[in-house]
């Protein structure tokens, strides 16, 4: 055989071999030796069964919480939306490196996650039970829509506490005194969620720490 013929034969053989490997790894094939290939319907049914199991687990872990708790809470309260990040998808942003190369899915995921936390904060803020209050008082009774909370003025020296207070310290003071509950740990999910909600409602107001 001529060398040129040999070369092209080798190239074609390699391409074919790679193609077979690719088809073997990614192509449709029986999942277990001997089984038929699954239809779309079967795959969907399998996936739904997995999702339903997860949902049942969630329901057991969260008794008394409606499956559409976010929609429910948003129906009751006016909650400020987070910053609009859609600008990140415009123009040349992120091209040429991995960080900053965002997709619509990213923007949507961030918005959904922050919404979960802020809406959870609103739930706790409006519920004496979730706050651990003992006299049926919840935060919204003095702070409807988180008004009059002034998160932008913290940290500030609070003489009544004898120290410089952060927003979470004031939240705990209120939980202990008018709400008559036990102070929450700084990293208690309820405290974090309430901080998120209070800050969300004050969106756009300039920071001014120390203001009395």
């Amino acid at each position: 055989m001529s060398s040129r013929f040999k070369k092209s034969f080798v190239v074609v053989a390699c391409v074919l071999a790679v193609g077979v490997v690719i088809a073997w790894t990614w192509g449709p094939r029986p999942s277990v030796a001997g089984e038929a290939v699954k239809t779309e319907q079967e795959k969907k049914a399998e996936a739904k069964a997995v999702v339903d199991t997860h949902m049942d687990q969630w329901k057991r872990k969260n008794p008394g919480r409606a499956a559409d708790w976010i929609k429910e809470e948003k129906e009751r309260r006016k909650i400020q939306p987070p910053a609009d990040n859609s600008d990140l998808l415009k123009g040349d942003q992120g091209k040429g490196h991995s960080y900053g190369n965002y997709t619509e899915k990213d923007i949507l995921m961030w918005a959904r996650e922050i919404e979960k936390m802020v809406v959870e904060g609103s739930r706790v803020f409006h519920s004496a039970e979730l706050l651990g209050g003992t006299i049926g008082v919840s935060c919204d009774m003095c702070h409807p829509d988180a008004s009059n909370t002034h998160p932008e003025t913290y940290p500030k020296f609070q003489p009544q506490m004898g120290r410089v207070a952060l927003l979470r310290d004031m939240i705990n003071w209120c939980i202990e005194h008018p709400v008559r509950g036990k102070a929450l740990a700084a990293d208690d999910p309820r405290m974090r969620a309430m901080e998120a909600y209070i800050l969300a409602q004050r969106k756009g107001v300039k920071l001014n720490y120390g203001k009395h």
């Binding site: 409006h126 919204d140 009774m141 002034h150």
Partner: protein, 275 residues
Amino acid sequence: MNNLDPQPDFVFYGGDLAQLGQEHELELGAQILKNLKAPLKIMVGEHDWYLDMGEKWRSLYGAPTYSWDHKGVHFVVLMSVMEKDFWTARGMTPMERMQTVAGLDNGVQSPFMVGEPQREWLKKDLARYPNNTPLIVFSHSPLYKLYKNWNFWTDDADEVQAILKRFDRVVVIHGHTHQLLTHRIGNIHFHGLLSTAWPWPYAPEGMPELTIQMNRPDPFNPNDGCGDGEVLVHADGLVDKVYNLWNRNPITVAKGYTASWGKAFVPPKPNRPSF
């Protein structure tokens, strides 16, 4: 109240005796109020009503809408926290309905209103009084449209104001807002009531021009921003509204202030304003 000398003509309770409308709350409140020496005139608030739709209230105090005459003044008490049914379609229990209404910022509830039947009652009740009759209307919701998000609002305020329009001077004393509020629309002078439980912050929008806000409450003082009040009624029917803020100097919104559209008898400006 019992130590006042002279005693007032009557003591008026502005509504929200209970928080969640429960029997034991209303009974305890009624028991406390029985200790007053002066006659009691009472008005219903939304917190008293929406657990059992006023059943217990009526058994304690009778019809929530009524009127009487005293020293030449015609007094009317309205039930101005009626709401369109929002609970049946949602399958709410009575307590769920009550807790929805109890939430100031709960947008599921309907706006407050007086409603057509009561407006008809009001027209008939006022029919025999000439235009120069001093007229004082007690209402839980403000009888004007201040801030819908917190139900500082009466949905049919325009219709109610139209019924009151023919009188020379009308004073509306309203509850619900838990703060010093002053307003005037034409011949109607509106005054708010303080709460004995806790103060509300001022609404972010819709503030009447005549209102000079009270100082923002100090959270570290559980009584600050709360109080009671007095209404001094002049011969022409206009009033001096005295806000007896606990732990603070009283503030008087004199008849001359609303009469002059805010030019004379101006109450003190706050030195700790809301922000």
